[in-house]
């Protein structure tokens, strides 16, 4: 799976499971900022989704990796088996 596919899958997840507006959400949009406003429960959902879909564990990973779809995708790319 290439980076674009990973990002597109992440975006679809944010829209369908976390209720984020797809028009607002770009790959570099700050996820936990004021605009999107995700919270700590959502971060557990992200960890769960990444674990079960990409087989990459993000448990205990620094918050800088959760900033945007781009940073999550980069972390997945760097840590996938």
């Amino acid at each position: 799976m290439d980076q674009e596919e990973v990002k597109s899958k992440l975006k679809a997840f944010f829209m369908s499971d976390l209720g984020v507006d797809g028009d607002v959400l770009q790959y570099d949009t700050e996820l936990f900022g004021e605009e999107i406003g995700l919270d700590s429960v959502d971060s557990l959902e992200i960890i769960s989704f990444v674990d079960s879909n990409f087989n990459v564990s993000m448990t205990g990973v620094g918050k800088e990796h959760f900033q945007s779809i781009n940073t999550i995708a980069a972390y997945i790319e760097a840590h996938k088996a």
Binding site: L44, S48, V50, N53, M58
Partner: protein, 148 residues
């Protein structure tokens, strides 16, 4: 199949907050079907509502959550250190009221597991008709972090 004695060995809740009385089907870490009998003698009917007893929706959710907790099987050392708690309630609908005399047949099925989350779809039926449905997500928290 589990009776009330076997259920009590597995869950910590006790009357008047024990909301699953029998388990008729159980596939560990996958799914279960359980029963709750709703009696007019239950204490919450005194106030919910005087003269028109209806089981509170939040307690129907609690019944589903207790059945889910019976599905989640973890190694003893995990359960010693961690507590599995309800994290999220999604899309619950209370389609028809539940009243004294009803027998809730609750079905829960695991829909996701990853990271520290386990998710379930729940359906509550009375006489084969759906009265409530929705999704619940659980997580584990270290017991030592409680209250800090």
């Amino acid at each position: 199949m589990m009776n009330i004695y076997e259920i009590s060995e597995k869950i910590a809740q006790r009357p008047p907050f024990q909301m699953i009385e029998r388990v008729t089907e159980l596939t560990p870490n996958e799914s279960a079907v359980g029963i709750k009998n709703v009696s007019v003698n239950e204490p919450y009917f005194t106030g919910h509502f005087p003269g028109t007893p209806i089981m509170p929706g939040v307690l129907i959710v609690e019944s589903c959550a207790q059945l889910c907790s019976l599905v989640i099987e973890k190694p003893a050392e995990d359960l010693e250190k961690n507590l599995y708690v309800l994290l999220k309630i999604d899309g619950f609908k209370f389609v028809k009221p539940v009243i004294p005399g009803d027998q809730l047949e609750i079905s829960v099925k695991k829909t996701k597991e990853g990271g520290v989350l386990v998710g379930f779809d729940c359906i509550v039926k009375v006489n084969g008709n759906i009265h409530a449905k929705g999704a619940l997500t659980f997580t584990s928290i270290p017991k030592e972090s409680l209250g800090k």
